[in-house]
Amino acid sequence: MIQVFFLKTLSAQLSIATAALLVRAATLKNITVSVPEGTSNHGDPRLLCTPTRWTDVIVFFLGNYVAHAGTVIVLPGEGIKSAAIIAAVSLLFPIAGVQRGIKAIESWANFAMTDLEIAARAGALCMVVRKEYPNWIPQKDDAMSNAILKISVRSYKALLAKSGNSLHPVACEDESGLTFDRLGL
């Protein structure tokens, strides 16, 4: 950020306490150099402040703020729309990307053993699931596990009444297996 090269225009002769840039801190001496109008030291003999040019402002904003938008973590397979929005929001509010960043660190993905586990930790895997009622429809040959059967006593009595039709105890270890007496109901 050395501005010495830009001292040509509109220079006023200013005598300021300036030391050669590489001189040790203890020794400051007065020399006369040309600096742009508006140069000051803000009352600190160790500062040399030259006026800001518009390019300085642009570099300041690009380097400090805009560059950050390019560092935001993109989710696996994330579309351009979503990625652009999070980048834009991060440009205004950098903390907006914190969840993605923390998740990426917390996942500890690269320390998993297999490629699949790394991908799972990175959130790059998905699976097919059933939609909740009423979307899913049963079909012949579906085999289910971890299901719950809910059937009322009244239903069961009705089933027993029609037994042979709706309810088929196909194989029972003991014949009295499915009676209410046995169940104490």
Binding site: A67, M144, K162, G184
Partner: protein
């Protein structure tokens, strides 16, 4: 009494809570799912069937070198800006100093850099094989290609828990968890065939009193190995059409073996909770994905800590002195910071940006613009301070 049949209904799996979050995401290969199926994220600590010996399996991912370099460059630049803010600039502008406003950007760029080094990037999502995928493939208009690996699924144990808020005396039901069944058809009717059904004895333990709002039901598993096999007619209509609301409830996803702390077994035992009321039939599962919710809170508190870190740096350097900053300078820079933290924490509550329909997009944009005004104001104030302060060289 006439028995019409039983309905089969899909309910939320208590062991894994997921949100539909794959709109707008690219899927590897082809993935056209039949009606009644959707995609959900695989738990991050899922276990997979081992590959056959000698089979090298690799999944393409990449580390974005450009992203890492941008993050390093930004961190150095912002670090320099912050370093130069010490002294005169902070004396002049206090905690509103323009050099301090880069702090959250610096902190987040470092977080993103570490994150990008630890977690590779994937150009798309991969579908993993499972029994539900097999089931979906048996249906028409299912076309899924390019799956990777296969999940390990486990059967829930046969524990019972029951509660009821019903005060009626007709609440005794048979319930069982972890039952497996197969649907078969005899003629046009679909039937559920149960094999090896463990049937519980359900009896009344205590009547509800005024003190307790819930009923305790005494449950007793029948001893020995039960080998009944029977089938029930399936109703495919709505539950209202079924007089007695007899039902087979299926979980949305199978119980998946996981390697992490979220021990699946602790959730399994909570499966199979039926709350039945003739007036208001409903099923409540007490199971929650405890591991995941703890994780979510952990993630949220880390997010909050990261936000506070930037505040700590600002406070540490400026001691929260006002300097000779104007009220506008302090107001805009602080409003910018506060809104930023608010948005950061808010975004941990919604997993990714998705919207249905244009009005939601409009809503998001207007929300961002209205909140963004604080950032725009901050930028203007920073630019103004930067210009009036000037470019400086520290002579040491």
């Amino acid at each position: 009494l006439d028995y019409k049949g039983i309905i089969v209904s899909v309910i939320k799996a208590p062991w894994y809570e997921f949100k539909d979050r794959h709109h707008d995401r690219k899927i590897h290969g082809t993935c056209r799912l039949p009606h009644g199926y959707t995609l959900a994220a695989v738990p991050r600590d899922a276990a997979f069937l081992p590959q056959a010996e000698g089979d090298e399996f690799s999944l393409s991912s990449n580390y974005s070198a450009i992203k890492a370099m941008v993050a390093i460059a930004q961190s150095i630049y912002a670090g320099t800006t912050l370093y130069n803010a010490r002294g005169d600039q902070i004396n002049k502008y206090g905690y509103a100093a323009f050099g301090l406003t880069v702090t959250p950007y610096l902190v987040m760029s470092i977080v993103n850099l570490i994150g990008a080094l630890i977690t590779p990037q994937y150009p798309c999502l991969y579908v993993v094989g499972s029994t539900v995928l097999d089931e979906a493939r048996r249906r028409n208009e299912c076309h899924v290609d390019g799956t990777v690996g296969r999940l390990i699924e486990i059967e829930a144990s046969t524990s019972f828990e029951m509660s009821s808020q019903s005060t009626q005396d007709t609440f005794s039901y048979w319930t069982c968890s972890s039952l497996s069944f197969k649907l078969s058809s005899s003629g046009p009717d679909l039937r559920a065939r149960f094999n090896g059904l463990p049937i519980a004895k359900v009896g009344l333990a205590s009547w509800p009193s005024e003190q307790t709002s819930s009923l305790e039901l005494l449950l007793e598993e029948r001893s020995g190995h039960v080998k009944e096999s029977f089938d029930l007619p399936i109703l495919t209509g709505h539950s209202e059409e079924n007089d007695w609301n007899d039902a087979i409830y299926l979980p949305t996803c199978p119980l998946i073996k996981r390697t992490g702390k979220a021990n699946t077994n602790s959730h399994v035992n909570r499966w199979g909770i039926v709350v039945y009321d003739e007036e208001q039939p409903r099923l409540i599962s007490l199971g929650t994905n405890r591991g995941a919710s703890l994780w979510a809170w952990g993630s949220r508190s880390y997010a909050a800590l990261t936000s506070l870190l930037s505040l700590a740096i600002i406070g540490g350097l400026s001691h929260f002195n006002r300097g000779s900053s104007s009220r506008a300078q302090r107001g805009w820079t602080m409003a910018w910071w506060v809104v930023g933290v608010g948005i950061g924490v808010f975004l941990t509550l919604i997993p990714s940006w998705h919207w249905q329909g244009g009005w939601q997009l409009v809503m998001w944009i207007s929300l961002i613009l209205s909140l963004g005004s604080s950032a725009i104001g901050g930028f203007i104030v920073v630019g103004e301070m930067f210009v009036s302060y000037g470019q400086f060289i520290r002579i040491t």
